[in-house]
């Protein structure tokens, strides 16, 4: 029945230019996030200071959204790790509360 208990975690959504995906995935590996999901066919306009509001609406491959769920203590290391990227390139990170059904899947020491 323990599968029916929900545990509080943090959901992180990172939106970046696709060419920086490896930077982010390496960071998530480094902080031992247990996994992530990438939504790659997204487009956007004007978000986060994109080159003077350059319209990228028809350039569907230019952005990706990376979705991960982590314990709260991993939020700050991820944000700190993204700082060098965000200093030089467009991108943003969004953090929200989420509950997950299986906490063990998000803890360190598990494959």
């Amino acid at each position: 029945m323990s599968n029916l208990i929900l545990h509080p975690m943090k959901e992180i959504k990172i939106i970046i230019e696709g060419e920086h995906l490896k930077f982010v995935s390496d960071l998530l590996d480094k902080v031992k996030a247990t996994g992530y999901t990438v939504i790659s066919n997204i487009s956007g306009k004007g978000r986060h200071g994109f080159h003077e509001g350059h319209l990228m609406f028809n350039d569907a491959s230019s952005e990706v959204m990376i979705f991960t769920v982590v314990p709260e203590e991993k939020v700050e290391p991820i944000l700190a790790g993204l700082s060098p990227l965000f200093d030089r390139h467009s991108g943003s990170m969004f953090v929200s509360d989420v509950a997950v059904s299986r906490r063990d899947r998000f803890s360190e020491g598990k494959k």
Copy 2:
């Protein structure tokens, strides 16, 4: 003006292997969730105990994210209904708070 009132609901995101989509959609129909949205072109790595961290990064069709919004009392039946799937296959369910503009669209007895 009633359209401008926001009502608290629960947002559910379910990430599973694409081959199990019908299992989930049947479950959502059974609990009378009024609808769902499927994001199908996603990829991921290592999430939720995927086969020893097998890298599926180039296998974009292997996972889907199912997004639905339901009244709070439907969360537990959905979680319980997913249990048999999660016992044998990779996947996770995330629950968060959300407000919707039109509650009637999410209640039973409406098409």
Copy 3:
């Protein structure tokens, strides 16, 4: 270090038929949302009173999800602006709490 501070904002997800995307993007421009992201390859079933529950599962291009993050005071104008669309067409708007790393990117007066 200011990049490491998280600021509370509102995350808005709007799900509509793809043909109404321009209506929504014009609205977001009008209320000076600083940007948005569009996830376009989604499918759905029965959500929000779709034409008598017409199954659109194989019609992947029919819906889009628009994702934006705004200060709280922009939520009501966006909801009000969508009202005429929702009165005549299917669609829904979901609002949730989110924290962002760089508030300045979401304020007016910035490109």
